[in-house]
Symmetry: C2
Amino acid sequence: MKIIAIANQKGGVGKTTTAINLSTCLAVAGARVLLLDLDPQGNASSGLGHRAAEGQSLYSVLTGDDPLEGKIQTTRFENLSIIPAQMELAGCEVELVRSANHLVRLREVLEPLKRERRFDYLLIDCPPSLGILMTSALAAADGLLIPMQCEYFGLEGLARIVDIHDQIATSGINPSVTLEGILMTMYDGRTSHCRAVVEEVRRAFADLVYPINIPRSIAVAESQSFEKALLEYDPHGKASQAYKQIAEIFLSRQDPT
Amino acid sequence: MKIIAIANQKGGVGKTTTAINLSTCLAVAGARVLLLDLDPQGNASSGLGHRAAEGQSLYSVLTGDDPLEGKIQTTRFENLSIIPAQMELAGCEVELVRSANHLVRLREVLEPLKRERRFDYLLIDCPPSLGILMTSALAAADGLLIPMQCEYFGLEGLARIVDIHDQIATSGINPSVTLEGILMTMYDGRTSHCRAVVEEVRRAFADLVYPINIPRSIAVAESQSFEKALLEYDPHGKASQAYKQIAEIFLSRQDPT
Ligand SMILES: Nc1ncnc2c1ncn2[C@@H]1O[C@H](COP(=O)(O)OP(=O)(O)OP(=O)(O)O)[C@@H](O)[C@H]1O
Ligand SMILES: Nc1ncnc2c1ncn2[C@@H]1O[C@H](COP(=O)(O)OP(=O)(O)OP(=O)(O)O)[C@@H](O)[C@H]1O
Ligand SMILES: [Mg+2]
Ligand SMILES: [Mg+2]
C-alpha cells in the first residue's frame, strides 16, 4: 500500500479538490483506495457526502487506543473507503505534541494497513498549516503530491514545502519519502502571469510536474456543493477529464512491484 | 487604536490580499496603520516588499522579552508601518502553548501601542489554521474581519469562524470582540454558483456583509509578484477600486469617538 500525502501549507491551492478527485478516479480505474481526511475542517469528507460526527475521525486512534478499523467507512464507490475528519482532530495539534513519539504516531497507526494489503493507495488530505497533522502525514508517507496554484504566492509556498520535504527526508524522520509530483491547479491559460508561473515551475522541477494542468472550472465548486466527485457531477467537463488523465499518469508512474 | 484581525481558517480566501490592500488604502486615506503579519509564511510581508530575516518577526517578543518597538518597520507609505512575519513564528504554535497565559500573550504585547495612540488601526493578517497564532489574534482584537470566497467550501468555513468568534466572546477570553464584517472576495458575477453563495451569505448576515464584492482580477496576483499594493500597480483596475471603496466603507463604520 503506497501512502501519498497531498500537502501544501499554502491555503486554497486545491489539496482537497485533488484528494476527492484523484481518489475517486483511481477507484473507478480499479485501484483500491483509502482516503484519509486529516484536516479538522473536513472539506474532503463533506465534499464526498461523508460529513463526520464526533468520534468518527482518527482523533481517538491517534491520541488514545481506539482501533483504526472502527474509523474506516465504505463509500458509494466500490473501491473507495474513507476515514473522515471532524473538528476534534484539531485537538491533535496540542495533545500529540506532548507525547514522546508524536511525529511518528500516525505512521504507527497506519502500519497494520500496510501489512494487510487491503488497499493499493492511501491518500491523505492535509490541512494548510505547518502543524503536527501535516508533519505527521509527511512522516508517514511514501510520496508527497503537491498541488499548487499558478500564482506568485504559490511559488513561495512551493519552495517552502519542498524545503520541508527535504528536512523530513534528511533528518531521518522519513528517509524514504519521495516527491511524487507537483500538480498545477486552477490553471487559466489566458493570463500571462499564470503561464509564467507554470513555466518557472516546469523549468525548476521538470518531469516532477504533471504534464496536465487542472483548468479553472466552476464545475469544481459546484460539484462540492452537491457533495459529488467531478466524475459524477460533470464527467465530460474539462476539470473532470484533467483529473482522469492525472490519475492515469499517476498509475503509470507507479513501480510495477 | 482599533485592532482588526483579518481571519478565516479556510485557506486561500484573500486574507493576505485584504491585509495588504486595506492597510495601504487606509494609509493613503490618512489613517495611521500598523500591519502585523502573523502568518509564518509571510505572504503579506513579501507582498509589500518587506520579506523578513530571522529575528525580525514578533516571535522573540511573544516567546521572550524582546521589546515590541524593535520589530516595527516603516514602509514606503507614510502612514503605514509593518511588523513582518518569518518562519520562526511557527515556533509559537509549540512554545506559546506551554506558557500559562498563552492565549492573551499577544494582547499583552500590543497593550502599550493602545495606550500610545500612535496608530489608528492595527490590522493582523492571520494564518489559515485554528492554532495559537490565529486564536491569539482573536483574543487581542477589537473586531474580526472575515474575507471569504464565493464557493461552497467557503460557506462551511464562514460558519466555522463565526462559531469560533462566538466562543471567544462568550467564553470570556475576549468579551468585547465584534464581527467587523464579512468581505466577499474573488467574486465572479458570471457564475450562478458564486451569485448563489453571495446571496446566501447576505441573507444570513445582512449588513455585516460589505456591499461591495472584491472582483476576481489577475492584477491581484500580478501586483504581489511585483511586491506592490494594487493602488500602486493597477490603481484604476476593478480590484483596486473595490478595495478603495471597502476602505471608505470601513472608515465610515468606525465609531467617531
Ligand atoms: N480547478 C478548479 N477550478 C475552479 N475552482 C477550483 C478548482 N480547484 C479548486 N477550486 C476551488 O477552490 C477552492 C479551494 O480549493 P480546495 O478547498 O480544494 O483547496 P485546499 O488547498 O484544500 O484548501 P485548504 O488549504 O483550505 O485546505 C474550493 O472552493 C474549490 O472548489
Ligand atoms: N480578487 C482576486 N482576484 C484574483 N486573485 C486573487 C484575488 N484575491 C486573492 N487572489 C489570489 O488568490 C491567492 C490567495 O489569496 P491570499 O493569499 O490573499 O489568500 P489567503 O487567505 O491569505 O491565503 P492563506 O490561507 O494561504 O493565508 C493569491 O495568489 C492571490 O493573489
Ligand atoms: Mg483542503
Ligand atoms: Mg495569507
